[in-house]
Structures are given as C-alpha cells and as structure tokens.
C-alpha cells in the first residue's frame, strides 16, 4: 500500500515538473516564475559481480531502494526588480494657463512575478539635485496628477478620467506608460523649471496570486532565514533614487515654463516749448516713449496693460496729442484716454489722480511695442 502511495506521489510530482518545464520554456527570457518548483534527480547505474543492477534514483535524504527515490526540489522566490525611466530626456514645455500638460515615464517589470505598483509624486525644490541639468526654480505648477495608461483609449493618448492612478497587474518583462499631468498657473515667470520625482513601490500579496483591479499590499523584503514553504520577496534593485534595499524606485522629470519676458524702458524728450529752445520749460510738452520688449520671451505676451501715474502737481496728460481722439500712440495705432469715452479701446486717464492706463495688444515672441504719450508742464 505504501509503495502505491509513493508512486502516485511521484507521478503527481513528475506531472508538476513537466508542466513547470513547459511554462518555463515559454517565459525563459523573463526569468523563472516565482512559485515554480524546480526538481533535480540523479540516477546511479552500476554492476555487481558483472551483473547489471537496477539503477537507484537519488533522494534528498538518501535512497538505496532500486528505482524510485524523490527529486530534490526548491521553490523559486519572487525577485522584485523593475525600472522606471522618464521618456525623452528633457523637460516638458508648458505655458502659463496650460492644463493637463502631459509628460511620460515608463515602468518595466524585470522581476519574475506579476506585480502591482503604487505611484507617488514628490515635487522637488531648488535644494534638490538638478534634473536634466536644470535646477528647480521653486515656481509651483499646480494640480499634479498621475495616470497609468490602461490601453482602453487610443494609442498614446492618456485618459485622464478613467486611467488608474497606480499600476495594476503588470506581467513579467512588460512595460507600462505612466502619465503625469500638470496644470500651469496663469502667472508664471519665463524659463522657470519645476522638477519632480515619480516613485513606484512594488506591491503584491505575499506569495499569493495578485488581485486584479485592487492595489495589493505594498511589499517588504522577507526578513530572516529562508522559509522553504513560502514564496518570499527579494529586492534586486540596488540602484536608483532610493539607493536600493526597499521596494521603491524613482525617476526624475519636470516641466519648463515658456512665458513672456518683458523689458520696459521709458524715456522722456521735449516735444515742444514756447520758445523753441528744446528745454523743459513751463508750458513745454514732454513726450514719453515706453518700449515693451518681449525679445527674451518664449510666449506671446497677452493682456498687457501699461499704467503710469502722471504727476498732476506739475504736469497733465496732453489731450489729443496726435490728433482728434488720439491721446496715446501704440506703434502705428492710437487710443483715446478721455474719461467718458466708454474706454472701449482700453485707454483711460483720470485727470484728478493722474492715473493713466493703456491696454496694449498682444506682443509676439521677439517683438517690441512702443507706446508714446505727451504731458504738458504746468504753465506759470
């Protein structure tokens, strides 16, 4: 009876081994799957007195019965190994007011088990190491959000509404794209850099089959001595932002702000005087020239408003300096600063306070707008 049980056990084991071999051939390049049982058995053939004897199979504890021993087995543990890299090697360009500006990173599971990964984003500061050779300028982009491509949309198009915020069930050797979305504030300086680190932490039920659609428990390296009956976790990652030794790896990336960068210059010159002397005498007219230069900018300057406070104790804005309703010249155009003109042209002047406000049309990248207006020095 005992013999029969042993044979059945052996057959069952052989069955498992055959199935395992088949599986391992299919995934050979990826590393042997965690949970696989690897069996080994030696067979010794010999003669005694020139008579061929029944070969003896090995056994983990020693076997001297001709024929069946038991294979010497071990269990394949989980090797937690993965990489996370950013794609493109450069900052993602954004302009003020952009929403859901996308940058991409890639996570590859190079371990030997199906894994979940939790994701988190750390906004870096100027105190952190540079990213792509650029120091964070501490200008904060808002509403960072992480999404993981789940393949349900068009290729390469992130679905902000439905994509998961963590990596679910990524197979051995498989790669998944992680999208980081950022909203850029309406007011941001040109050439600002906002760097971040995206961290991924391996997660899975210890030794159990992972649960689709659920972020499994975060992994910790199995402590202490080897447990031959359990699939334990060994972290292979020794490089990366975290220095190894835990289940987290990170990759750095960031955003670069393209904004307008305006340089304003104001000059004054005598336009006319009662004596034609060219001097700033009482009753002389002075022309102010304001240049607004976007040469250093990387975006069109929009909604530009030039304000100036005319020192009404000594001077007053010269009405209709360039013609009827033409109080202010903006390049080749004019605007009317009169109170009560409904200000549809964006220009206004309050004689009581001296507040002059001039709406300037968009200034293109590299362009300069020149605004001129005149004041008259109070007569004696």
């Amino acid at each position: 009876m005992k013999t029969v049980v042993t044979n059945a056990g052996l057959l069952a084991r052989l069955g498992v081994t055959a199935a395992t071999l088949l599986l391992s051939q299919q995934v050979l390049a990826l590393g042997t799957d965690a949970g696989t049982t690897v069996a080994n058995q030696a067979t010794v053939a010999y003669n005694v007195n020139s008579e061929i004897q029944t070969p003896i199979e090995s056994d983990p504890t020693g076997n001297s019965t001709p024929g069946a021993g038991n294979p010497t087995e071990f269990l394949v543990d989980r090797r937690v190994d993965f990489t996370i890299v950013e794609i493109g090697g450069a900052h993602t360009e954004v302009s003020p007011g952009d929403t859901q500006a996308v940058t991409e990173l890639q996570l590859t599971n190079t371990g030997n088990a199906i894994m979940d990964f939790d994701l988190s984003l750390v906004d870096l500061t100027s105190a952190d190491p540079d990213v792509h050779l650029q120091t964070d300028t501490d200008d904060v982009l808002i509403n960072y959000a992480i999404r993981v491509a789940n393949g349900d949309g068009a290729a390469g198009v992130p679905d902000f509404a439905t994509d998961l915020v963590w990596v679910d069930e990524i197979a051995e050797d498989a790669t998944v794209v992680i999208y980081v979305f950022a909203d850029a504030g309406a007011i941001l300086p040109n050439d600002a850099y906002d760097n971040f680190t995206l961290n991924a932490t391996a997660a899975d039920d210890a030794g159990a089959v992972a649960t689709p659609g659920v972020l499994d428990a975060l992994l910790t390296e199995s402590p202490g001595a080897d447990d031959p009956t359990l699939i334990e976790s060994v972290f292979a990652n020794v490089s990366g932002a975290d220095g190894g030794g835990n289940a987290t790896e990170g990759a750095d990336d960031g955003y670069h702000v393209n904004s307008a960068e305006l340089v304003i210059t104001k000059t004054a010159a005598v336009f006319s005087d009662p004596f034609g002397s060219g001097k700033a005498l009482p009753d002389a007219v002075i022309e102010y020239t304001v240049t607004i230069d976007n040469s250093a900018g990387a975006a069109i300057a929009e909604s530009v408003v030039l304000t100036d406070t005319i020192q009404i104790a000594n001077v007053a804005l010269e009405d209709e300096a360039y013609g009827v309703t033409q109080d202010v010249a903006i390049d080749a155009a004019f605007c009317n600063a009169d109170l009560g003109d409904a200000d549809t042209d964006g220009c206004s002047y309050d004689a009581a306070s001296g507040a002059l406000s001039i709406a300037v049309p968009d200034i293109g990248i590299g362009a300069t707008t020149t605004v001129t207006y005149q004041v008259r020095i109070s007569p004696l």
Binding site: T3, T17, T20, L21, S24, Q25, L28, G31, T32, T36, V38, A39, N40, Q41, A42, T43, V44, A45, Y46, N47, V48, N49, S50, Q53, T54, I56, E57, S58, D59, P60, T61, G62, N63, S64, T65, P66, G69, T72, E73, F74, L75, V76, D77, R78, R79, N112, D226, D227, P228, L230, I231, E232, V234, A236
Partner: protein, 168 residues
C-alpha cells in the same frame, strides 16, 4: 476427509499465501547496493572582522532568478561487494543553466549530453547544429551531466559528484 485434516490443509494454504505475500514484500523493499542522496545548496559569502572572505554552502530551499544553485550527489556503497561501472546521470532542469566548469567528481570522467541524454561525450567534443551551422556546444546547451567512475566503488566507500547552475 476429517475436519481436522481439512483444517490443516487450510492452514497450509494460508501459509503459502502468506509466504508469497512476504516474499513479494521483501522483493519490493530489497535494498540496492548503493545509497544515493542529492542535496541542493547555495553559496553564502561572509566577511569576518579581519576582512577574510569565506564562501560556504548553506541549505537552499528557495532561490531567486540569477542565483547559483549547487547540487551535491553522494553515493555510498552500503553492500559487502564492490560496485563496478558506477555511472551517475543527472538531467539539468529547463530552468537552470549549467555553470561552465562547475562539474566535479573525484575519480570520475565527466561527460555531457546535448541531446536529452541519448549520447554523452566530453564537453569539448560536443557540437550543436542550429540552422545548418555547427558550433561547439556551450554550457547552455547541456541537457545532462554524467559522471563515469574510473574504478570500482569499494564496499563501504563513498563518492561525490557536484555541479552548479544558475536559476534563469
């Protein structure tokens, strides 16, 4: 036939059946001349206070891909007679890649197979033909290892065979 004689005949028949059963059982449990044991171990490298590096073999019940697996086969002649033509054959599991040069066995000629154990030869004599191109066999091609003892294994003597492989 008296009842007593009938009883004796029954007893005799029973004895014969019992004997037959006993001998069948004895045959099934008959010991061979050798005791064969395979253990699986891993290398553990330790550095002591003086910086001395020590490599020792420790129990290996679980491995991760990339780790080295060390198999040691011991075979002891537990009979009163010498064992002749002792040949130890060990298939290399599909998950394992033999570590070149790791097979070891005092007093044995070590041979390899690249055809699933049908033929064996010394490692430098084996070739593999792939896509019509024949090349020398490498460690990754070996499917079986065979240790052929050059001398008889004396009564009470023990031999050892060992090899290492990387878990893929």
């Amino acid at each position: 036939m008296s009842d007593e004689r009938k009883g004796t005949t029954m007893r005799t028949l029973l004895s014969v059946i019992l004997l037959a059963a006993l001998s069948a059982s004895a045959y099934a449990q008959d010991e061979g001349h050798l005791n064969v044991r395979t253990v699986v171990q891993k290398e553990q490298v330790t550095v002591n206070e003086t910086g001395e590096v020590k490599t020792e073999l420790v129990a290996g019940d679980t491995f991760v891909p990339g780790e080295k697996v060390v198999y040691t086969i011991t075979f002891r002649n537990i009979s009163e007679e010498p064992a002749e033509n002792v040949v130890i054959t060990n298939p290399i599991s599909g998950e394992l890649m033999y570590v070149d040069g790791s097979a070891f066995g005092p007093g044995t000629d070590i041979q390899f197979s690249v055809d699933g154990g049908q033929t064996f030869a010394n490692s430098n004599e084996l070739t593999v033909t792939e896509g019509g191109v024949t090349r020398p066999a490498g460690a990754g091609d070996f499917t079986h290892i065979r240790w052929v003892m050059q001398q008889d294994l004396a009564a009470g003597a023990q031999g050892v065979a060992r090899f290492s492989a990387i878990l893929e």
